[in-house]
Symmetry: C2
């Protein structure tokens, strides 16, 4: 079975909702998910997008909708006091971890998302990222070094380039057997697609 | 019970999907729906929005998503050869009809939407609008006169102004007991909201 590709930015509220749900949906249909952290700022520069919350009128609605959509899905949520914020260190940490242990990396990503969107932790701060990883048994000095490693930086650039080349313009973004799905509100369509093999 | 307000533009694919579903969802919970045609062009001038299909990259995805979302909801759909198009005559016709017979007006609106998004009919053409209304027993000369009536034009302007004042920035847009919902993909949330009285 072809894995599902899941593109997300650690500063994306709907990305957080996607991260909480996609592996369970995939598992029900015998699928695995490959997680790809990206930087929405880089994507928006290429596609002309903008953070939802900065758009007049729509911005206020979106903050309301983040919280309601989280309640709808049973996911804890509190709009963070710093938003959006820089996520390159979180993304680099994830990429370094996933090359070593994919399950650990996903657990780290979900913990980072929860720290940001449920507990208002500043996840741009590397000490906070190291604290989360450290509590999971990751060697902190090695991870700290990885976040500044040119090879890891290049790995993140390559993920961004690949995402843009595939037409990713937002977060979360999923590919199921080549079919693109944008947004956590497309999870029911993904579930049906996996159930029926396309509709 | 407070009626649900449903704002839509006749040129909005997701508005069409909303129009096909909202009354059934409302009826299951003993609610009625008041339909408000608006002109997205006017709304976009005020809010800085743009037709989805004209946005680079996102535009191609959105055309794909319109069709898939329609299949997901079991609604016939074929992307029209003229898109977007002027909808002020369709909106004026609806407003004149709804002041006479609300059920007839909704049937007219659904028929106009289907003509556009399932049969590729040019609904900017007043003859086509009069044909649809005429087949439902509406007096064509009276409706033709209404579409040019300054009072009906003013009624549409007032609907647009009221929509903007309430924070409407897209189509479809719903208010359920004051709670705003944007998009046909929020129909499941509306269903839950009506079921539970808010969540």
């Amino acid at each position: 079975m072809i894995p599902i590709d899941f593109y997300f930015d650690f500063s994306s509220p709907y990305g957080y909702l996607g991260a909480e749900k996609i592996d369970d949906i995939a598992a029900r249909h015998g699928r695995v998910v490959v997680w790809h952290p990206i930087l929405l700022g880089v994507v928006f520069r290429a596609t002309g997008g903008a953070p939802l919350t900065e758009i007049p009128i729509k911005g206020d609605y979106s903050k309301h909708d983040f919280a309601r959509s989280a309640r709808f899905l049973g996911v804890p949520f509190k709009f963070p006091s710093r938003f959006p914020l820089a996520t390159h260190n979180a993304a680099r940490a994830f990429l370094w971890l996933t090359d070593r242990d994919k399950t650990l990396a996903k657990n780290f990503a979900r913990a980072v998302y929860r720290a940001y969107f449920a507990e208002d932790t500043d996840i741009a701060n590397t000490d906070n990222l190291l604290g989360i990883a450290g509590s999971m048994g990751v060697d902190r000095p090695s991870l700290q070094q990885a976040m500044a490693d040119p090879a890891v930086k290049e790995r993140l650039r390559a993920e961004n380039d690949a995402a843009l080349a595939r037409g990713v313009f937002g977060s979360p973004f999923f590919f199921v057997d080549g079919e693109p799905f944008w947004g956590s509100d497309r999870l029911p369509q993904i579930d049906r697609w996996l159930e029926t093999g396309g509709f």
